[in-house]
Symmetry: C2
Subunit: 573 residues, 2 copies
C-alpha cells in the first residue's frame, strides 16, 4: 500500500473530544473518526487492525470447534419477553418499532436469539456439544459514551455460546474457551491476565473469568499473586480475615464526645486510634430493605459481595441521610451498631468479630463509643466476607503477597447454566430419552475494545507502538526524498520485493519532508521503519528502526527483506 493512496488523515493536534490516550491516538493517527457520541467510522488502517484481531479470534474459535454463524442485530421483543429481559434491560437497550408497531431491539447480546435458534434445531444429545459464535456489531445505549472505542454504543464483539448436555460438558467448553482466550490475547501480543470475576445475579452455574489487558489507565482493579496463578477482579477477590493483635478490652464501653468528627480519618485522629480500631458502620438500602453494614475502619465495603449475599437488588445504595435519621435518629457520620433497633439487620465483615477493642458511632450527634467489644456490645446477624481486598494481603491460594494492577476488560467467559435454555425451552433428549435443558455458557471478546486496550498498553509520547501481530502494517518504508532518483527507485524496489515476499509493507511515497514522515510513522506506530536515504545508500545500506525500543540497525539493501521477514516471523510465532 502507498501512503499517498490511502486515507490516513493524521492530526498534529489532539481533538477536543478525546479523553483517554487510546482515543486521542486513534483519532490523531487517522484510524477512526467519530460520527456521533459512542459511534465511530473505521478508516482504512483502523479497519485493518480490527480485521486482524477478528481473524485471530476466528482462528482460535474454529480451533476449538466453534462454528461461525451470523445472528441478526435487530431482534424481536417477544424473545426478550420470554426470558424476562425486555423489561430488565432498561435504557441501555436501543429499542426500535417497525412500521407495523412491532417492537425490536438492537442486540446488546445474543443469548435469546441463539437459544431460540438452538431450540428449533437441536433434538438429541448426539448434537451436543454445540459451539456457535459470531463476530458482529453490538449495541448499548451508554448513559455517557466516551473514551472512544473503550466504551462505545456501537461496537464489535465476538460472542460464542456453548450448549452442552450437563455441567461436566459445560466445564469442558468453558475450559476450551479459557484456553482459546489465553491464546487470542497472547497472539495479539498483549500483556494480560485472566482474573476470577463476579458472576453476579446472572450466572446460573456461577463460574466466570475476565480477561484483562494490563494498563495503568484501566478502569478495573485486579489483584494477582506473583507466586501462583491466582488473580481476581477486586470486586470478586476473596478476603480472608487479617486479625490484629491487641489486648481485649475490659470494662464497659464508654461514650465520648467527638465534635465535628464524621469521617474515619477524623475520628481516628480525634481519638488517637488506628483506623483498624474503628468499626465503620454504614446504613445501606437495597430496594426496600434497609440494613447496617460493618467493616473495620481500614477496609472498604464491597457492594458486589453485599449484593450477592443479600440480594440481588435492582438498586443497592447508601441509605439517604433522611433514611439514616428515620432509622437511627442521627446523621450519617455517627452511625453505629450498639443499641440498634431489633428489626434492623446488621451484617458484618469477617474481621469485625475478631476485633478486641473498637470504637464506633453512637447514633448521636458528635458522639462515639470507645472500648467496644463486638458481640458483647452489639449483635451481628450475618457475618461474611463483604470487603474489598488490598494490595499486600495474603493470596487465598498460596499465601503469597497479593499485588494490585489495573486492567481493561477485553474478554469474559461465563457459565450460564440453564437460565436461558429453561426460559426458552431449549431442550434435548438424553441417552435415556429424558428431556433436559441444554447447559449453556457464553464467551465474549470485545474486538473493537481490544484495539483501544492494546493502545492503552502500548504507547509513548510520539504515538502508538503496535505489537506486530495486530499492526496495520508491519513495516513502513520511508524514502527521505522522492526527488532523489536513487532513493526513490531503491525504496520502490524494496517495496515491491517485500510485498512479493509477503511482508505487510506500506511506503510513504508522499512528497513531504522526512520529519513529517517520521512523525506520522511514529504516530501510527508501525513496528518497523525502514529509512532509505542517500547517505546510507552510498554504503549500500538502509536504516531499520524498531518503533518499540527505538533501536536502529544498518542493513545491506540486499539483506533487508530477509532481515525483516526474520523479525516478523519470530514475532508471529
Amino acid at each position: 500500500m502507498r501512503v499517498s493512496q490511502v486515507l490516513v488523515p493524521t492530526l498534529r493536534e489532539v481533538p477536543a473530544e478525546a479523553e483517554v490516550v487510546s482515543q486521542k491516538l486513534m483519532l490523531r493517527a487517522g484510524l477512526i473518526r467519530k460520527s456521533a457520541a459512542g459511534i465511530y467510522t473505521y478508516l482504512p488502517l483502523g479497519l485493518r487492525i480490527l480485521k486482524k484481531i477478528e481473524q485471530i479470534v476466528r482462528e482460535e474459535m474454529d480451533a476449538k470447534g466453534g462454528q461461525e454463524v451470523l445472528l441478526p442485530i435487530v431482534q424481536p421483543a417477544e424473545l426478550w419477553r420470554e426470558t424476562g429481559r425486555w423489561d430488565v434491560y432498561g435504557p441501555e437497550m436501543f429499542r426500535v418499532t417497525d412500521r407495523h408497531e412491532r417492537e425490536f431491539c438492537l442486540g446488546p447480546t445474543h443469548e435469546e436469539i441463539v437459544t431460540d435458534l438452538v431450540r428449533g434445531e437441536v433434538r438429541s444429545y448426539k448434537q451436543l456439544p454445540l459451539l456457535l459464535y459470531q463476530i458482529q456489531n453490538k449495541y448499548r445505549d451508554e448513559r455517557r459514551p466516551r473514551f472512544g472505542l473503550m466504551r462505545g454504543r456501537e461496537f464489535v464483539m465476538k460472542d460464542l455460546y456453548s450448549f452442552d448436555r450437563d455441567e461436566a460438558g459445560l466445564a469442558e467448553s468453558y475450559n476450551k474457551m479459557y484456553d482459546a482466550y489465553t491464546r487470542i490475547f497472547s497472539r495479539c501480543g498483549l500483556t494480560f491476565r485472566p482474573v476470577e470475576a463476579d458472576a453476579g445475579a446472572i450466572g446460573g452455574s456461577g463460574g466466570t473469568h475476565e480477561f484483562m489487558v494490563l494498563a495503568d489507565s484501566g478502569e478495573a482493579a485486579v489483584v494477582y499473586c506473583p507466586d501462583c496463578d491466582y488473580a481476581a477482579n477486586v470486586e470478586k477477590a476473596e478476603c480472608s480475615p487479617h486479625p490484629i493483635e491487641s489486648e481485649t478490652v475490659n470494662g464497659e464501653y464508654e461514650r465520648v464526645a467527638t465534635p465535628d468528627s464524621k469521617t474515619i480519618d477524623q475520628v481516628s485522629d480525634f481519638l488517637g486510634l488506628g483506623k483498624h480500631e474503628l468499626v465503620k458502620s454504614i446504613l445501606y438500602q437495597g430496594d426496600d430493605q434497609i440494613f447496617l453494614v460493618l467493616v473495620r475502619g481500614d477496609r472498604e465495603i464491597n457492594e458486589i459481595k453485599l449484593n450477592n449475599m443479600l440480594g440481588p437488588f435492582v438498586n443497592l445504595q447508601l441509605a439517604a441521610a433522611e433514611t439514616v435519621r428515620e432509622t437511627l435518629g442521627c446523621e450519617p457520620g455517627f452511625v453505629g451498631p450498639i443499641n440498634a433497633a431489633k428489626d434492623l439487620k446488621i451484617v458484618a465483615d469477617l474481621e469485625v468479630p475478631l476485633m478486641k477493642r473498637a470504637a464506633c458511632g453512637a447514633n448521636q450527634p458528635d458522639q462515639h463509643y470507645v472500648n467496644v467489644l463486638p458481640e458483647r456490645d452489639f449483635r451481628m446477624d450475618q457475618v461474611f466476607d463483604l470487603r474489598m481486598v488490598n494490595a499486600g494481603e495474603k493470596c487465598p491460594k498460596c499465601g503469597g503477597s497479593l499485588q494490585e494492577a489495573r486492567g481493561i476488560e477485553v474478554g469474559q467467559v461465563f457459565k450460564l447454566g440453564t437460565k436461558y435454555s429453561k426460559a426458552l425451552n431449549a431442550t434435548f433428549l438424553d441417552e435415556n430419552g429424558q428431556e433436559k435443558p441444554c447447559v449453556m455458557g457464553c464467551y465474549g471478546v470485545g474486538v473493537s475494545r481490544t484495539i483501544a486496550a492494546a493502545i492503552e498498553q502500548n504507547n509513548d509520547k510520539d504515538g502508538i507502538i503496535w505489537p506486530i501481530p495486530i499492526a496495520p502494517f508491519h513495516v513502513i518504508l520511508v524514502p527521505v526524498s522522492m526527488k532523489d532518483t536513487q532513493v526513490a527507485e531503491t525504496a520502490d524496489k524494496l517495496y515491491e520485493e517485500m510485498r512479493k515476499a509477503g511482508v505487510e509493507v506500506i511506503i510513504d511515497d508522499r512528497d513531504e519532508r522526512p520529519g513529517v514522515k517520521f512523525k506520522d510513522a511514529d504516530l501510527v506506530g508501525y513496528p518497523l521503519r525502514v529509512t532509505v536515504g542517500s547517505k546510507t545508500l552510498a554504503e549500500g545500506k538502509v536504516e531499520l528502526r524498531f518503533r518499540k525500543s527505538g533501536e536502529m540497525e544498518l542493513v545491506k539493501v540486499e539483506e533487508l527483506t530477509a532481515r525483516v521477514k526474520e523479525i516478523i516471523t519470530e514475532a508471529l510465532k
Copy 2:
C-alpha cells in the same frame, strides 16, 4: 469439515413461510433460519457462501483502488436532515431514539455518513479521486418483507462511494466500477447482464446501470439485443416509433356506438380494428396536476418515463373515476382527446402523431370516434417516448431485434453528481484555489441478495446447484457406509489428502443411509460429489459426480485429488 460436526439442519419438507425457490432451498438446505419477518440468521454454510461473495467483491474493489472502511449502522438524524432525506425516506427507514431523546436511523444507505466523513478530511484536489467502500448490514423496513434474502429488512450490501474533481473523473470512476461489477458477477459464476436503468429523480448526473442476474423468477423485466451489447431495464429502454403503413383517412371523423366496449380488446373486437389502430387515452394524476396520456392501443404506458418528463411527482397514478367524470364528463372506458378542454394537458407517445387512421373514445358513454386523424382532429401538447418497450422491437443501437428476459437486480452503479456534496458542503480546492463540490457516484452490490439470485438461477428439483466459485464447499465426500472399514478409511484418507491439497472438502461422516446422504448433498448443492463405496473400491476407484450435469466418472483413488483440483482450478480461472 465434517458434516457430523457442523450445523446443517436440512429439511425434507418445504417450510410454510417460503414463497420463492431460493428461500425454500436456503431453508431446506440449512443455510439460513428466519428470526423475524425479513430478518435471518446465517448458519455455518450460509455464512461461508456470504463470505465467499464478500471476498470476491472486496478483491475487485481493492483492484480498482477502493479503500475499505466501516461506517456506522446507527446514524444521527441531523445528517439526514441536512440533505432533506429524513422526511423524504418515510416508513422504509427504521428510526431509533436514544436515552437522551436524540434521533437516529438504521442506515438504509450511507451517502450522508460518507459525505460527512469526506467533508471533514478532504481539502485539496490532490486527495481526489477517493473511492471508499464498506461491506455491512443495511436496513429497510419493507412493508411486506418476503422472499427470504431476496427482499429482507436486514441485509448485507457492499456500497462504494466515489469522490471526484469533475464529471470526467466521475465517468472514470463509474467505468471502473462498471468493470469491477462485471468481473464480480462473472467470478461468481453467474449469468447476468448490466442494463441501462432509470436514474429517476435522484440522479444528479443521471447515468446508471443495474446488474441483473438472469432468472425466470426475476422481478425485473429487461430487454437486450442479441446482436450488440445493448440491454436495458424495460422501465428505461428507449422506444423508437414503429409507424404502421396504412392509408390516411379522408373525410371527417365519425361517432359510433360501442355498447359495453370499454377495454382496448373489447373496442378492437367490436369495431373490427387492430389494436394498433386505436388511441389508448388515459387520464393521469401527478400530485395535483391532471393530464391525458395517449399511446397506441397495442402499447403500454411507462409511468417512469412519464414521471421523468412531467414530474418528478411524489405520487403519480391513474386518475380516479370521479376525477375522470369531473374532468371529461364520462366514465374511464370512453376517454378520448377530441374536444378536450383547452386547459387539459395532452401528452402523446411518439407513435401517436404517426397514426393515419385511428379510433378513440368520445368522452361519452358507449361512444367512440372512428376515422380520426391525430393533429387534425385533436391537439397534442407534448410528444415524447412514454411507452414500454416490447420484445421483437428494433434495438435502438444497432437495429437488431430486442429480446426480453427476467432478472434479479444484484448491483447498481449510479452517478450522483453533486447532490450530496452540495447539501453537505463536501468541497475541495482545485488547482486554481477555487472551492468546488466533489462529484460523487455510488455503487452497490446486494451481497446477501446475490446468494438468493444465484440459487434462483441455479437449481433443479433436487436442490441448489452452486457455481464452484461461491459454493460452500467444492466437494462432498460420501462414504456409503461408515461401518465398512475399508470404505471409511479410504474416505478419511481422501478427505485428509484433499484438505492438504487445498481443496474445500466436506465429508459426510454421519451414520446415515447413502440415500439420505445423497439427497442432502444434492439439496445443499455441492458442485462435486465423491462417492466411496466397496464396489468401485474393489477396482481401486471412486465415483465422481457433477451436480450440474449429473455426469459421473470413475476415478482411480490415487488420481482423485489431482482430478478434483483440475476441475476446480479451471472453474476459478
